[in-house]
Amino acid sequence: MRKFKEALEAGEFLVTAECGPPKGTDLNEMLKHAKDLLGKVHALNATDNQSSVMRVSSLAICKLLLEMGHDPIFQLTCRDRNRLALQSDILGAHVLGIKNILCLTGDYVTAGDHKAAKPVFDIESSQLLQVVNTLNSGKDMAGNELHGATEMFPGATVTPEAKPIEPQLMKFRKKVKAGSRFFQTQAIYDIENFKNFMKEARKHNVKILAGILVLKSAGMATFLNNNVPGITVPQNLINELKAAGKEKALSTGLDIAARTIKAVRDLCDGVHIMAIGMEDKVPEIMKRAGL
């Protein structure tokens, strides 16, 4: 299997998934899930204190994924680090052999489990993309020469289901301008809407991986709607999960994910499967989607 950047440049249909670092030092479960995905995905994202909940650092997990044989995507948010820490971590990623980076602003601290934390947001996603390209050019943000440039492959996120969409598209164009080479979108449910988004996206030379968020129950979908920024599961899917009943809800959720993948397959450049807490189900989803 080609590495992420090579596959992207070769125009392959890309498949990426996510690895949620645990809260605590016991990595057994996470590493087992990651191992199950070896050879099945082009890259594996390591999330960065996802939903503002404190966990093992994404950089450390990326290094472990790399040693396992994965091509990791280093998720880096601006919530917890100022510009010194961000640049330092990007240099750190490079020297550890990590080449892909997903530049994020980050959820606000009150979404998570350390609500009294000082939110940093010294810079933000579009500026972080510029920073990556600056470091790649051999300089830092202050214009100082680096002894050795980075070679990071920068990507970002976009929310095609944002309402209203125009300000989000403005931001998308800024991220493209800032040098983002690929986008892993927030969860896609509305295919017609996604088609419209792709019309805008296709004006730019960037690759779009549709975000597939795996649902396991109606309760989970409702929880996501109420607690996770940027996610809105439509009512018809919640009803479908509810109608499936307790026993079959998970299988229905996997079907929804698989059928969404099939629906977007010819529209974009790949999929990014976010199976929060159900990483072990990713191979099954891929099988059902015919990937």
């Binding site: 939110p119 933000e124 996603s125 579009s126 500026q127 300000p167 989000q168 800032a178």
Partner: protein
């Protein structure tokens, strides 16, 4: 104006527990508009302290409590009351408290208030924050609306992915400021102002504590 809110009484009593007699100072500017430093607030505080067995030697509402020299002059009229008190309780913003510290070198100075933000009064004693005194105003590029203040993340380049139906990720009751900015500039046909990527802010322009001498030479 500077928005302040009175601390709860237990917290005030705990802070002042080592002293028994007090002179109270309010402020006729912001703290009066907030109801935290006007005459009524001072009278109320006097009553509550006396109920708890404390002595209040007197009180006065400074014209502008953060103005050190003016307040010092005004206080001359209350020389005896001040001298008769072990300590002062200032009922204004944090600037007023520290003006008092400068004036009263040999007395304890306590605050009765928490100082919250620079605010607009939208209705009587209803305030919201629209400017955070960042030292580098960018509203000429953002339709006159400040994203540094009105976006919890202070984003300079558009909404985050948490914006939902035009509402803010952090407070679903609040409109996303970037949707407001976008709509306003769209109406004014000036979206060109936010097309380019805004540079990171220069926090070097706001190293605390700030100081300014704007006197002409």
């Amino acid at each position: 104006m500077i928005i302040s809110k009175q601390k709860n009484l237990d917290e005030i009593l705990e802070a002042i527990k080592d002293n028994n007699s007090f002179f109270l100072v309010g402020c006729s500017e912001c703290a009066s508009l907030c109801g935290t430093g006007d005459e009524a607030a001072l009278e109320d505080m006097k009553k509550k302290l006396e109920e708890k067995g404390k002595k209040v030697t007197g009180y006065f509402v400074a014209k502008t409590g953060c103005q050190v020299l003016g307040t010092k002059v005004e206080l001359k009229k209350f020389k005896n009351e001040v001298e008769g008190a072990e300590a002062l309780i200032i009922m204004s913003c944090g600037a007023g408290v520290q003006a008092a510290v400068e004036i009263f070198k040999d007395k304890h100075v306590y605050t009765a208030n928490d100082t919250l933000f620079l605010g607009n009064m939208t209705r009587f004693r209803v305030f919201d924050e629209r400017c955070s005194l960042c030292g580098e105003c960018i509203v000429n590029e953002t339709g006159g609306i400040c994203p540094v203040t009105n976006c919890p993340k202070g984003l300079l380049n558009g909404p985050c992915g948490g914006m939902n139906n035009g509402k803010c990720e952090v407070d679903r009751e609040k409109d996303c400021v970037w949707v407001r900015i976008y709509n306003r500039l769209n109406d004014l046909k000036r979206l060109d102002l936010i097309e380019e990527i805004a540079e990171p802010k220069d926090y070097g322009k706001h190293t605390k504590p700030s100081a300014l001498n704007s006197k002409k030479d």
